[in-house]
Point group: C2
Chain length 293, copies 2
């Protein structure tokens, strides 16, 4: 069982250092009666006299000197702690936890890496998973989310980037099967699509309206697999523009439509959003996103 009443120890500490109740009261900014009561209470609690009382002040006993030493180091440690904590909010140091779906790694990792290079004192941790990380449990400082703007109560949401999607095929496939002209022509081609039939993605709905299910010859739940299948020349498939941009072997088949766009959101918890550290990364990410177009 540890001691309750840390404030009383603090009061006794000031009395021991100062030598008088009045002096300690002045230091503490309280009335001297309060100091006397604290000392009396603490001594009763401990069952030990901490001070010799006399008309010129309070002289610490052996026990009082012991307390003085311990409390002095405590005071030092608390002072250092406060210094760290107060400073922390205004500097870019410590950990910085970013989470997103694994798909966005190629976009985010370079941006985070350059941020880290600019702020050597920060340790960046980039976590990806299929499940959503929960900001309110402190699992992340910043989360990147896709789709509809999330409306959690304590979260601050900012637009990061518009993820445009288009229909692609490999150069090899187009050379073999020709470029589709008009909706009717699409039916003759082979497609890569989602494993589930009723995907909520707008471009897959668009596809379902124009392409019979039988033409969707490669079906997968994995976004990465779609990309590889397209490159292998399996058929036509949907990819983000930013991902296709890198690869000269890919040919865009139809014009992209704005209703296929999927926004990316930067989400932070209210409590962390204000901090300089988080703000710095948010700014950096948004700046990086300008080059993703």
């Amino acid at each position: 069982m540890s001691i309750e009443a840390w404030d009383e120890i603090r009061t006794a500490f000031h009395v021991a250092r100062q030598g008088t109740v009045s002096g300690a009261a002045a230091e503490l900014g309280v009335h001297h009666a309060t100091v006397i009561r604290h000392i009396d209470a603490l001594e009763a609690r401990l069952g030990t006299k901490l001070f010799q009382r006399h008309a010129r002040g309070y002289t610490p006993t052996e026990a009082g000197r012991d307390l003085l030493q311990v409390a002095q180091t405590t005071d030092d440690q608390f002072t250092q702690l406060v210094g760290r904590l107060k400073g922390r909010g205004d500097t870019v140091t410590g950990e910085l936890l970013i989470t997103s779906l694994a798909v966005f790694s190629p976009l985010l990792v370079p941006a985070i890496a350059s941020f880290q290079a600019n702020h050597p004192e920060v340790v960046t941790r980039f976590l990806t998973a299929e499940r959503l990380f929960r900001l309110e449990y402190g699992e992340a400082h910043i989360a990147v989310r896709a789709g509809q703007p999330p409306e959690q109560l304590d979260n601050v949401v900012q637009h990061l980037f518009t993820n445009r999607t288009a229909l692609f095929a490999s150069r090899e496939y187009i050379e073999a099967h020709g470029m589709p002209e008009g909706d009717a022509d699409l039916k003759k081609h082979m497609f890569i699509g989602p494993d589930e039939e009723d995907s909520r993605a707008p471009f897959y709905k668009w596809m379902k309206e124009r392409v019979p299910r039988s033409q969707v010859v490669f079906r997968t739940t994995d976004a990465g697999a779609v990309k590889h299948a397209i490159l292998e020349g399996v058929g036509l498939g949907f990819m983000p523009l930013w991902e296709a941009k890198e690869n000269p072997d890919l040919v865009q088949v139809v014009e992209t439509r704005t209703d296929w766009d999927s926004p990316l959101w930067l989400v932070t918890h209210v409590d962390l959003h204000r901090t300089v550290k988080v703000q710095a990364l948010l700014k950096h990410l948004k700046k990086s996103a300008q080059d993703w177009g």
Copy 2:
């Protein structure tokens, strides 16, 4: 400037360790509303969020984890301190400060030495001076005083020993000048006495009534000098019985009178008198005094 509100840090410490406000409140024995208010106040004071609040409890932030570590060691140190302080009152350890006039060293030192031998864990400090040490300033645990029973307000006074005084001469002196017979005979002898003419000591008053000042051939303010002068055969002088007892060269000249007796008192400060440590020494000194007769 160091932090005020150590109790709030203690509360935050329990919350960080426990993970919930309710749990911490139970540990602390306070209402959970109080815990919430402490945390809010502390965070406002620091300008930093210490916890992520959510429906399942409070998750410490980076800052909160920092505080947890510091406060944990503080808690440990306080627990140790309390253990020491509580135990201290019931054991014979630490310092033990005894003061007296220098004259009584020969009596007290052997007694204190044997006490120390019985209690190896105690450090005994024996201070002598001509001025009175002041118990109320914590200058001593136990003081040995002579004369009228001191009646300081916060002091506990016990009788230790009755210091009997008699008139002595050296065997050599008696052989040379003969043993005085009756008051009239005294006038023919030489005396050792105080430098001041009107000493308040009863035996010196007795001497003044019977011996002309001119016969006081050796005058000193130092009690030790009186003894040496007697031993050198200078004349007749007053000595405590206990001091003369040791020396076979000394001859008692007249019977001792009870009104020459000077009591020795053991004086302690109320606050310290109850402690086992002080009691142990008091008991030991009184036992030793039985052999001083």
